[in-house]
Symmetry: C2
Subunit: 264 residues, 2 copies
């Protein structure tokens, strides 16, 4: 499908996806922010896929269709699957190669702290890194469809330029969040660790028109982490947060402890 290979020989190939779906303003802002930095190919879900985490579609087939009219002059496809499916399909059936970089977002809403684990945006980025493609997930702390992406665009571009310049290690994944403020209020970029902060869940319980109960997830965000080196602290203080992410989930400290204490 990617026919323009020769024309873009020297430019890096950049795959762009998201979890809010291909019509979301966030992905359009990301494409606009970086489109002259490489040969861009968009492969994004055909509907919102927020909160899908690292889900993949195994029990049913996937659809894929070209929608290049969505983006001015940029090759683009929509996919019926999850954000992770989009990355897998893009590599295997559209690009027929690994892109040089994968970008995901810009998400409408925060993906700092524990959100990284629920986020379709970040899971797409992590999937790319598993497949040896350096990647960045971008999120703006504003859930609104009308969110102002001015500062996010500016800093996303800076970060992508930095990433392309440094020839990152192939498993690199960055989780980048932008505070919801104007560019002149942003104090800079901070490399952070993931805060231990989470949602305290509370399901709303209601009756449907037939009298049957249903439950709707809600929750209040609580930060248990007082560190000043966290993403939550940085964002609260108007810094762009950058958390390098890993997909080796082994808890090495606990591994050592269990080796010494377990008798089995």
């Amino acid at each position: 499908m990617a026919k323009k290979k020769n024309a873009a020989k020297t430019k890096p190939v950049i795959l762009i996806t998201n979890d809010d779906g291909i019509t979301a303003p966030g992905i359009h802002n990301l494409v606009e922010a970086v489109k002259d930095l490489g040969k861009i190919v968009v492969v994004a879900p055909d509907k919102p896929q927020s909160g899908m985490g690292h889900a993949i579609t195994i029990g049913q087939p996937l659809r894929l269709s070209a929608v290049s009219t969505f983006f001015d002059g940029v090759e683009a496809y929509q996919c019926s699957g999850t954000p992770v499916d989009c990355v897998k399909l893009a590599v295997d059936k559209i690009l027929h190669r690994k892109p040089d970089l994968c970008l995901s977002g810009i998400n409408h809403g925060a993906n700092h702290s524990i959100n990284v684990i629920y986020s379709g945006t970040m899971s797409a980025a992590v999937e790319a890194a598993i497949e040896s493609i350096p990647s960045i997930g971008f999120s703006l702390l504003d859930y609104s469809i009308d969110a102002d992406f001015t500062a996010a665009r500016q800093y996303a571009r800076l970060i992508v330029e930095q990433m392309l310049k440094k020839t990152p290690e192939k498993h690199t994944v960055l989780n980048v969040n932008f505070p919801p403020v104007a560019p002149e209020l942003i104090k800079g970029v901070r490399i952070c660790r993931q805060a231990y902060a989470k949602y305290e869940e509370d399901f709303v319980e209601r009756n449907d028109p037939n009298g049957r109960k249903y439950y709707w997830l809600t929750g209040e965000f609580v930060n248990f982490d007082k560190g000043k080196d966290t993403d939550v602290w940085a964002l609260k203080n108007n810094y762009v947060s950058v958390v390098p992410v890993q997909f080796d989930l082994t808890n090495y400290q606990l591994k050592d402890k269990l080796e010494k204490t377990w008798k089995l």
Copy 2:
């Protein structure tokens, strides 16, 4: 809902879930293996949810219904959501407290190496640990519905006993996989790290009866990791593998490097 609280005052409360759905033999084997070790409450998906990763349901309501007839004398519920939804709903709407332990599985199929990140079984266990509930995900390296759970039951029980005895730290998560062999062939239990092994994806491309293309995910498992301290090695050599898992995804090594080299 959990009415028998007083009767089980001294016994630990054990929440059991899975991703293969409440009718899967794996979860029934797990309940049977541990049901005298605590007050058991089952909350599991009403349909298969394999590969759902850490997905949560945010755009639609959830249903929950009692199905205690499924398990001999054990309080049980099915939920229309993902494995992670099951854990959240169980804590908030069924138990009205944090259980002492959460068990997930026994999964029909491997969750070693990178599978931990796609697995609904393991995501349910990780969700519990995020909520300060020690947890264990169990998986048998046999996808068959008729898999023989004899050895898995025996070792799952040993590991749960060990866990209950040691009063684990509240964020403890263990990823336990069983080799698909008879109990007498199992050499023991090994504490391991997650192998760097993954699926090399290949989508099957077909035409539907209307001539439109569809894609179906397939893939070949490839182990890039030659270490003898990995879960893949242990399982290949007929050990039960135990990988302690973490949910702080920060890559601290890369964090240090970026702090020194990035100019932003």
